[in-house]
């Protein structure tokens, strides 16, 4: 099947999210959809997959004009989308979830479905136990399940939104192999929305670039016909960045600050959850220091951070913050002493759907009983300006795009914290926004804040950390001098080679 989008327009209030988009996706091709945050990629993909209607314009499948409403209708037309956060039902097993989306009639044909499920998993080298509850799966496995579920529904075009976020390099290889086979062998169209240029260069045959709602370019990728050399990758990357931002960005380096007195000490800390037995961790963090936590998702770094922030139980060992023993303290006690935790899930942990930006600002403003709404509104406007948030102070937070929510979250951090514990502070942000966020964070370091953060972006870890702790299956390895570490070396460590 071939898909053509003609004169697609979509407006959200004053924002023209898609402005006259014309593009053709041909069968058997893997196409990258690129653009910085708010460029309109997600909007375009949501229109194509039926999650929201276009204001204007046509979708043609094999030169036939199609009019559909809703994702189910899109799937019936052969177009399926894999959301950034896989939409599945937690308490169900893999098999039940597989059946759930495809069942017709009242009886669920379990045996037949199980056969189909294992057939598809085997074909793509996925590892999915049909009887595992979904809650026990890794993000990568949930994606795999969602892909085969869509395939079983007869989808011929697969849209993936940031599929490599939160999955390991190994899992990424499996995913990319499967996608290549779907395109080459089955003639499917694969559309990949991603910020990770390496991934796009590695996987895609061509890219489409959006900027501020406009389509600004198309480009063939070298992957299909040449061996990828690092020089070629760097060159292609440069061209893509130029297209996305209109200018090429320099590799960033960070200034280093005076490291001060210890602010945070973890001594032989042991945390556990159902799936992980952690080795004891000892870590001393000084004022102005940035500690990066590396590791595949679920290797223990999240548990460690949450234990440090006192929202995860500590099994043994002790924690000291700012001279006080906080092993048994609550998060709120830490918060009042200047330690703030920023979680990865923005609208689940961090921001509050239903509250406006002004109300969010007021929540963190001060402890005074009376709220002076006028001055809070002014403050909210200042932050919107300063953090370049696209949205109005009176907007509800959920009306903002993901990247702008993330900016707001950072904007809500106190100006002079003693310590920040941040889960994936730049997750899902484009290069430019990520740098902006780091500028803000490093300013706080310069004023003496310590930062502990984790990231799945190795470049980010190497660029911004003073020291890195590598987590692998609950074991921890410390890299005391990051300046002598290459991304390549870090990649091996993350794979457990220590």
């Amino acid at each position: 099947m071939d898909i053509e989008l003609r004169n697609i327009h979509k407006r959200f209030g004053a924002i023209h999210a898609n402005n006259d988009i014309n593009v053709r996706f041909r069968h058997g091709r893997i196409v990258g959809i690129l653009g910085e945050n708010g460029a309109g990629k997600s909007t375009l993909m949501k229109i194509l997959s039926g999650f929201q209607p276009a204001d204007q314009g046509d979708i043609l499948i094999d030169d036939r004009r199609i009019d559909y409403k809703g994702p189910t209708a899109a799937i019936a037309n052969g177009i399926g989308m894999l959301q950034q956060d896989p939409l599945d039902v937690g308490a169900f097993t893999v098999l039940e979830n597989f059946i759930y989306g495809g069942a017709e009639g009242l009886t669920l044909k379990r045996a037949q479905a199980e056969a189909q499920l294992s057939d598809l998993t085997a074909r793509f080298g996925f590892e999915l136990d049909p009887h595992q509850p979904i809650d026990n799966l890794l993000i990568a496995q949930r994606q795999q399940l969602e892909i085969i579920r869509l395939l079983a529904l007869g989808v011929e075009t697969l849209i993936l939104d940031e599929p490599t976020t939160g999955i390991s390099a190994e899992q990424k290889d499996i995913l990319f192999d499967a996608l290549r086979r779907l395109a080459r062998d089955e003639g499917m169209i694969i559309l990949l929305v991603s910020h990770k240029l390496e991934d796009v260069i590695d996987l895609c045959d061509e890219v489409v670039v959006l900027r501020a709602g406009l389509m600004v370019g198309e480009m063939d990728m070298p992957a299909s016909d040449k061996d990828l050399t690092s020089a070629l990758i760097a060159d292609t990357k440069g061209q893509l960045v130029t297209m996305m931002f209109g200018e090429e960005l320099d590799a960033q380096s960070r200034p280093h600050y005076e490291i001060g007195a210890p602010v945070f000490i973890a001594d032989k800390l042991i945390v556990q959850d159902l799936r992980l037995d952690m080795q004891p961790i000892s870590l001393t963090v000084h004022a102005g220091e940035v500690i990066g936590l590396a590791g595949l998702g679920g290797s223990g770094q999240e548990l460690f951070m949450r234990a440090c922030a006192r929202i995860q139980r500590v099994n043994s060992g002790s924690l000291h913050f700012d001279g006080n023993n906080i092993t048994g303290a609550s998060y709120r006690q830490l918060f009042r002493r200047g330690c703030v935790f920023g979680a990865a899930g923005r609208l689940e942990e961090g921001l509050i759907a239903g509250l406006t930006l002004i109300e969010h600002t007021a929540l963190v403003a001060d402890d005074k009983l009376q709220i002076d709404w006028k001055s809070v509104a002014k403050r909210a406007d200042t932050r919107i300006d300063h953090y370049r948030i696209k949205g109005a102070a009176t907007d509800n937070i959920e009306q903002l795009s993901g990247g702008n929510q993330q900016r707001m979250l950072i904007g809500l951090l106190p100006d002079d914290p003693k310590m920040l514990i941040l889960e994936q502070p730049t997750r899902g942000l484009d290069v430019d926004s990520a740098r902006w966020i780091w500028t803000q964070l490093l300013e706080r370091c310069a004023r003496g804040a310590a930062i502990i953060f984790n990231s799945s972006d190795l470049e980010e870890l190497v660029t911004y950390s003073d020291r890195i702790l590598v987590f692998y299956a609950g074991r921890v390895h410390e890299l005391p001098d990051v300046s002598r570490t290459s991304i390549d070396e870090l990649g091996h460590l993350i794979g457990g080679e220590f």
Partner: protein, 372 residues
């Protein structure tokens, strides 16, 4: 707001009036089905509530406790809590006030002081029972609905024990009620022609204004909203979530307790089983009907009070069971909530809540629901 758009305005007015019209129509059909004239019923209800100032006083006496609990429930709902235990909190307030009425030896000359003490006691009683629900929820993870139901039952058992045990009348002890309280303890009537208590009316108005300001202009009100919308995020943004939830239970409990005291110190003059009379549950309906908006609480509570007070006349004038009024009221609530839901799903753009209206990037879920 969408006032500029005539279609949206028309839809909004339609959704305001339709549920009222439909529930009235069904109510009328019911009356006709039992062989009566609906207009007769309306007439009886009206006369029952507003025929003279004595009747109006009766309406006000119902309105006072109903408004108090409804204001309290706005607070707990704002914090995302279903305070089903409000009925029991009224009862506990009534018990505390009853204790004071019987055992605090102040004579007639100090009656106003005694009244203040009794009302304060009632507030403490309600707060205590609310705090138990809160502690169960916060410390032990017991859902406030289950905790509330259990505590409602428990306080009823306690009140029956007191009435038929330690507090039973000296002569002819039964489970009917205690002896009438000494006169100094009883809240006085304004006049025989308008038998209600002005101090309590003033207290209701004060509570309304104070809670209104607290919800909208203070950090406490914002904290409640944040905790109600997303407890986890609120915690990470530095809100003392446990304290905030507990404060909601305490405020609601205090107001419910005062409402309970009015029942025993004015309406009945003694303590009886189930003195709260289902007013707490009725308050839940008032607040649900208004989607937790405080502004209209006094008005809607007054309408409810009028219908229920008026319904006593149905029996006398028409030999119809007074529960008919309850049926009418139930129909009204059902249809208002139903239509609210329908409007939310099919015409989200016309919702009265400005924040969710147009000119903004809609979320996926609202888009999926969007109609052409």
């Amino acid at each position: 707001m969408n006032i500029g758009n005539p279609r949206a305005l028309a839809i909004r007015i339609a959704f305001l009036l339709l549920p009222i019209a439909i529930s009235l129509a069904i109510g009328a059909a019911l009356v006709i089905a039992v062989g009566r004239d609906p207009l007769e019923v309306v007439d009886a209800l009206w006369k029952g509530a507003f025929k003279d100032s004595r009747k109006l006083g009766g309406v006000v006496n119902f309105w006072i406790p109903l408004t108090l609990v409804s204001i309290g429930l706005v607070v707990t709902f704002r914090a995302g809590l279903w305070n089903i235990g409000v009925e029991g909190q009224m009862m506990m307030g009534a018990l505390f006030a009853s204790w004071g009425a019987q055992y605090i030896p102040l004579d007639e000359s100090l009656a106003p002081l005694l009244h203040l003490i009794l009302i304060a006691l009632a507030a403490i009683g309600g707060m205590f029972w609310g705090a138990v629900v809160g502690a169960l929820k916060i410390r032990l993870g017991v859902n406030e609905i289950f905790g509330g139901v259990a505590l409602n039952a428990l306080v009823n058992v306690i009140s029956i024990y007191l009435i038929s045990g330690p507090w039973q009348p000296r002569i002819g002890g039964s489970a009917q009620g205690t002896e009438p309280f000494p006169t100094p303890a009883l809240l006085p009537e304004f006049s025989a022609r308008f038998p209600t208590n002005l101090f309590m009316i003033a207290l209701v108005i004060a509570a309304f204004l104070i809670v209104m300001v607290m919800l909208n202009a203070t950090r406490w009100g914002l904290n409640l909203k944040a905790v109600g919308a997303n407890m986890r995020s609120a915690l990470l943004l530095g809100v003392a979530t446990e304290r905030t939830s507990m404060s909601a239970f305490l405020v609601c409990g205090a107001l419910a307790g005062i409402a309970g005291s009015y029942r025993v110190l004015f309406t009945f003059d003694n303590l009886r089983p189930l003195a709260s009379g289902g007013i707490g549950f009725l308050g839940l309906l008032v607040v649900l009907l208004l989607s937790i908006r405080l502004l209209w609480v006094p008005l809607i509570a007054f309408a409810f009070a009028a219908i229920l007070t008026g319904s006593t006349r149905l029996q006398i004038a028409l030999q119809l069971d007074s529960s008919l009024a309850g049926v009418l009221q139930g129909l009204l609530v059902l249809f208002v909530i139903l239509f609210h839901g329908v409007q939310e799903v099919f015409f989200p753009q016309t919702m009265a809540d400005d924040e969710t209206a147009e000119d903004s990037v809609p979320s996926v879920s609202s888009v999926v629901k969007e109609k052409p």
